[in-house]
Symmetry: C2
């Protein structure tokens, strides 16, 4: 078993993720990925057959965390718990995978030209599930009459912004690096506004 192969492949993928995040697919040069980890360009091509393939791997690596995030909607049967956990999870993802998130955001921004059809299918299904669950809660009077899809769009945008547009976040928070406290503030603010805004402010007694 070749240990070198795995080590170098992940090193390359990490460097590629950062480059793709900062420059997009077309703007990224293989030679820059290589020099970021002190390798000659040809070495990259020994491990990955093309720029496309490398990009796809980076993109794929983000799909799993993304699909996992909707778990709270299946797990709980009350909007207060589900929404709270969902927001926490999504902010956590932004904190832990800022670069992969940017690559994904870039992909969506440009109309998802490299996103495989089966991934799109999975994402739409997840969204339908979450949306239906929210509608049920609305119908059962557990929350205000909020359009589920638009609520989801807002949640996605508000949480992913801490990864995708972190340049802007850092600018206005006047910091070089979004701190632990900032993420906590973001999570707290969002939970406070969304729960109250949906009419599920305080956790009802069970």
């Amino acid at each position: 078993m070749s240990r070198i192969r795995d080590k170098k492949r992940t090193a390359i993928l990490n460097a590629a993720c950062e480059e793709f995040a900062n420059h997009g697919f077309a703007g990224t040069k293989i030679v820059d990925i290589a020099s970021k980890i002190n390798l000659p360009k040809a070495n990259i091509y020994y491990y990955f057959e093309s720029k496309q393939v490398l990009y796809r791997h980076v993109l794929d690596s983000f799909i799993q965390p993304l699909l996992m995030a909707t778990a709270p909607f299946d797990q709980y049967d009350h909007p207060a718990e589900a929404l709270t956990d969902y927001i926490k999870l999504k902010i956590e993802i932004s904190k832990n995978h800022p670069n992969a998130s940017k690559v994904f955001a870039n992909e969506i921004l440009h109309g998802a030209p490299h996103l495989p059809a089966d991934i799109i299918e999975k994402l739409t299904q997840q969204t339908s599930r979450a949306s239906e669950k929210l509608q049920q809660w609305v119908d059962r009077g557990l929350m205000d009459d909020i359009n589920p899809l638009h609520l989801l769009f807002s949640l996605w945008a508000s949480t992913q912004t801490y990864a995708d547009f972190n340049w802007q976040i850092k600018l206005h928070l006047k910091t070089d690096c979004i701190s632990e406290q900032d993420y906590t503030d973001a999570t707290e603010t969002l939970i406070k506004v969304i729960l109250k805004g949906c009419g599920v402010a305080t956790q009802v007694a069970k």
Copy 2:
């Protein structure tokens, strides 16, 4: 006075805006901008000296609408009115300038490599102003104790998502084109959730 010049320049800028929005700076080919409006590539270079310059013009064209959007924070002295108008305005911008918005989003996503320093300065000042105004309202008890910056981040993200990530919006709304009704629903949902979420739900009697 050359009428041709102005007409063609704006035609080129419009085509360029769409191409840059869909493919990013590096992914856009001058020849594609040209053929989109049935011009030979060399003609583009007669009107704009370089791809960089063309891109800067597209980017600049979005700055004014963007800076205008904060007007409600100066105009009103109550969060209910200001937030309502701000959300309406921002959604309107997403509806009317989806391409320019995408170009701007792409710029921020990649760390604003082409954004002039004076624009950045203006944006930070606007944000400080809006943020201070929100804090005043919190202090005067006109709204709940919400972190102003994080609230702004959320508002930006939630409104811009209808332009920047419209591919995703269309996918989940199962439509080819976001309808007037969809924008109305988005605006309504956001206003409802944000106002109630901030504790300024119903407009208080003056």
